[in-house]
């Protein structure tokens, strides 16, 4: 049927364009930003201080600090199977070695358990709220008779590990 007369309506008007292309995305963007802010990405609560760890002996750990921080749990899980099941015992990768280097002494010259509050392991584990269960079985202090071993970093163990590309 042919339209002879009557008012014609334009589908694309200025207000409709403004709504579709400008206003709606802008509102969506603002809303999203507000949501992110509310969820509070990355703001540390001022009540909790970062762990302040006592420094271990020697110049460095058995692997670079960043690697240890990120991966020590994986190294431990892997190494414990090598040691228990296969009898592989190395001076470098032993929990006894970790304790010997990282343990502190109190004013009386006695060892403080390495999982006590404020000590090496517990500081970060408290901060990260991860339960530390190694020391339910493993000793938290070096044996008093072998204490002198902690001062000795063997000549064949370099302070820094060799580069991975040598493998």
């Amino acid at each position: 049927m042919k339209i002879v007369s009557g008012k014609t309506f334009r589908a694309v008007t200025l207000p409709s364009v403004a709504l579709r292309i400008v206003a709606l995305p802008l509102v969506a963007l603002l809303g999203f930003a507000l949501l992110l802010l509310l969820l509070g990405g990355g703001v540390v609560n001022a009540d909790v201080s970062l762990p302040n760890l006592p420094r271990g002996k020697g110049t460095s750990c058995v692997a670079p600090t960043e690697m240890m921080r990120k991966n020590h749990m994986d190294y431990l899980l892997h190494q414990r199977d090598l040691t228990v099941r296969n009898g592989v015992r190395t001076e470098r990768y032993s929990l006894v070695g970790c304790v010997q280097c990282h343990v502190q002494k109190n004013d009386h010259g006695n060892f403080i358990a390495v999982d006590a509050p404020g000590q090496f392991c517990q500081s970060c584990h408290d901060f990260a709220s991860v339960k530390l269960d190694c020391f339910e079985c493993h000793a938290t202090k070096p044996d008093a008779n072998t204490e002198h071993m902690s001062e000795h970093i063997p000549a064949h163990m370099p302070a820094q590990p060799t580069a991975g590309s040598e493998q």
Binding site: G87, T90, V99, C137, A139, K141, P161, T162, G164
Partner: protein, 249 residues
Amino acid sequence: MRRLFLAATAAAGFAALSPGVRLIELARAGLGTKLGVKLDDAVDASPVTAKSRWGMLIDAAKCADCDACVTACNEEHGLTKTGRPQTDAQWIRKVTLEDNHTGNITSLPMLCQHCENPPCVDVCPTGASFKREDGIVLVDKHTCIGCRYCVLACPYQARSFVHENLREQKPWSPRGKGTVEGCTLCVHRVDKKETPACVAACHRDGNGAMVFGDLNDSQSELATNLKSAHSEQVRADLNLNTGVRYKNI
């Protein structure tokens, strides 16, 4: 593209399966790269093999009243007594036998026999109770769930369950609540080429009844002793092929 993919896969497969390349070494190399270190950097970082089989020969005639082995074991592993003998840990104990007819009294130390066919390993639901390549039967306490099936299964009652929270463990002998433990044949000493604490104490303070050595080494003192004099297993009828043998019982 497809051709490239197929060629690459074939090459990788060829490399992985070619003789002399073991996948475990590739995996260890991968781990070494991940750790950023050379893995075998220490004096003895290779796994134990079945080349040796550790065992013991105990001459019950020499034992008498002595319990140097028990004292030494308790001290070596930090097995403190709580005054409750029914639940205290017991890795080695003296057993005194009296013959009903003759009245003859024999005394001998009973410890984990480190069987070749250990019942404790057979029953373990998690695989925590295992036999190492060199014959030492151990509990991997990381895996042990404390079900105590091995405690039940052992014909020699060699295993104990830890009932209490422990502190002040010896660094070379981790022990913890909720796991099962038993004689390790002083694996921490054996791996350093020393003898178990009980054997050392028997020689030092006792009557020299215990001989430790490599059952596979025909030149060892243990093997020559076993070959020359009659010895037996306790409960030989079970066919466990124990690593600990006894004389004069």
